[in-house]
Symmetry: C2
Subunit: 291 residues, 2 copies
């Protein structure tokens, strides 16, 4: 498992840098795009895609452009979320946020550029992937990232600020803001691997539970984590009076819910009848991570 | 000609509204996306696509999703350009800009949503268009709009502020900031219509000249136009000490260059051997428009 992560993470890092370096674009724009891509992300989404390919006995290589497209969209969303008019964050993964280094205008453009280039990457994949699968990958990526997915979640999150939220409203936010792209990462792997409908359905459920578990762990870490490990300020949810799983369910209740989703995820994974060991390992990582 | 525009513009307006209305997304987000889409654009890009289809004897309908995708991307670029950290414009087409009505955070998300949804629209086109053509439309749209296209132009424009620019630097900005998407609008029509390589090459040249003519006319109107017709403040280029065609070439020189590009565009159009009357008419509109 460790070996799988150790082999694949550098592959993603290198490909992301190479794609940006190859762009015919103004240097400042490329620098700003690269800065956030190289800021030390966990690469959880690309690794989920690779782990899903592995679950079907497929090599990572075929999924590299989609993995990079996903990471670019994730990175664009962080750049825009950190802006003064959004979360106004100065620090991300222990480094100054994009707009702190390049200014707001360039940060917005770097985000726009990463989002747009993601689609260029998938549309330009080589012919080992059929045109039909590429189109599905593009249509579903736009759904997961766009106004019916991540952007909807971010909008609901902003509108929910300072409001008392119910558990179902909180889940709407997380299912959209982080869930859809995590789900897409798994499904993209399944489509690329030629999974059958039943497997796709089980993996979809698997990823949905994993996504919620991921977010619950995030909320827990904002209370129990350390700034040193997280690379960002902790305790900001309480400071900002944000509704979280611990605030709605108590810390014990949140941890119970976390383990419920992890177990449910593993149950779906078993039902998908794939080589599940790496996806299981990522499940456990999500449940126990301290960063 | 008038009839062509009168028939097709309402078709675009209606389709744009219907696409947004059909989204499963938070109301505020949909409202913000719709607000700028319905703010009375000239629809020059979608009309160029339809006019190109017409030049090959094809009906507009087949191109409607691409036409709307193009207008959504154009609209997203205006929303982001108008932000306080960019051009800081309060007025666009005679109405308050998006962030003035919805706030900066929602305006950024509305832009992100429009950009992302554009790709969803094309990927979801029906099967009268082949998967290969859809992929080409997506790949080239991302190139035209992204870090090698419109975003590059916007970045160069920001970096050029307050700098003395040469004519070739000014052309780089315009070829990217507005040119690439105008070119794409024509080429998308040609690809959809099944144009041959020689025709595509001539139409590419045609659109390149038209794009520069469009921008030169814009610069002229910022001096000779009226706020009433333009729906925005005029004279802002001089106020912001912006390098423009008139500032580099004198007003007479700029007008000469405008007519050069219009004539060159018409020459390419003739060489493309298509039913050229509506594209010619749009050329003349671009050269003489007062809004």
């Amino acid at each position: 498992m460790e070996q799988f992560l150790n082999e694949n993470k550098p592959r993603i890092d290198a490909a992301l840098s190479a794609y940006i370096a190859g762009l015919d674009a103004p240097d400042t724009l490329k620098d700003a795009m690269l800065y956030s891509l190289e800021a030390g992300g966990k690469r959880i989404r690309p690794l989920l895609l690779f782990a899903t390919l592995h679950a079907f006995g497929k090599k990572s290589e075929i999924g590299l452009p989609v993995a990079c497209a996903i990471e670019m969209i994730h990175t664009y969303s962080l750049i825009h979320d950190d802006l003064p008019c959004m979360d106004n964050d100065d620090l991300r993964r222990g480094k100054p946020t994009n707009h702190k280094v390049f200014g707001e205008a360039t940060a917005i453009l770097a985000g726009d550029g990463l989002l747009t280039y993601a689609f260029q990457l998938i549309a330009g994949m080589d012919n080992r992937v059929s045109a039909e699968v590429k189109l599905k990958l593009i249509a579903e990526l736009a759904k997961a990232a766009g106004p019916e997915g991540m952007v909807a979640g971010q909008m609901a999150d902003i509108e929910g600020e300072g409001q008392p939220l119910s558990l179902s409203q909180l889940e709407y936010i997380h299912r959209h803001k982080t869930g859809k792209m995590l789900q897409y990462s798994v499904l993209a792997g399944a489509w690329l691997a030629g999974a059958d409908d039943a497997q796709v359905a089980q993996l979809d459920e698997f990823a949905s539970h994993l996504g919620l578990a991921f977010q619950i762990r995030d909320d827990i870490l904002d209370i129990e984590g350390t700034e040193e490990k997280m690379g960002k300020k902790v305790g900001s949810d309480i400071e900002n009076e944000k509704v979280t799983y611990p605030s709605l369910l108590t810390m014990d209740g949140a941890k119970e819910k976390l383990y419920f989703h992890i177990e449910a995820a593993k149950h779906c994974l078993k039902a998908a009848r794939v080589q599940e060991e790496i996806l299981r390992y990522i499940c456990d990582l999500v449940a126990t991570r301290d960063y």
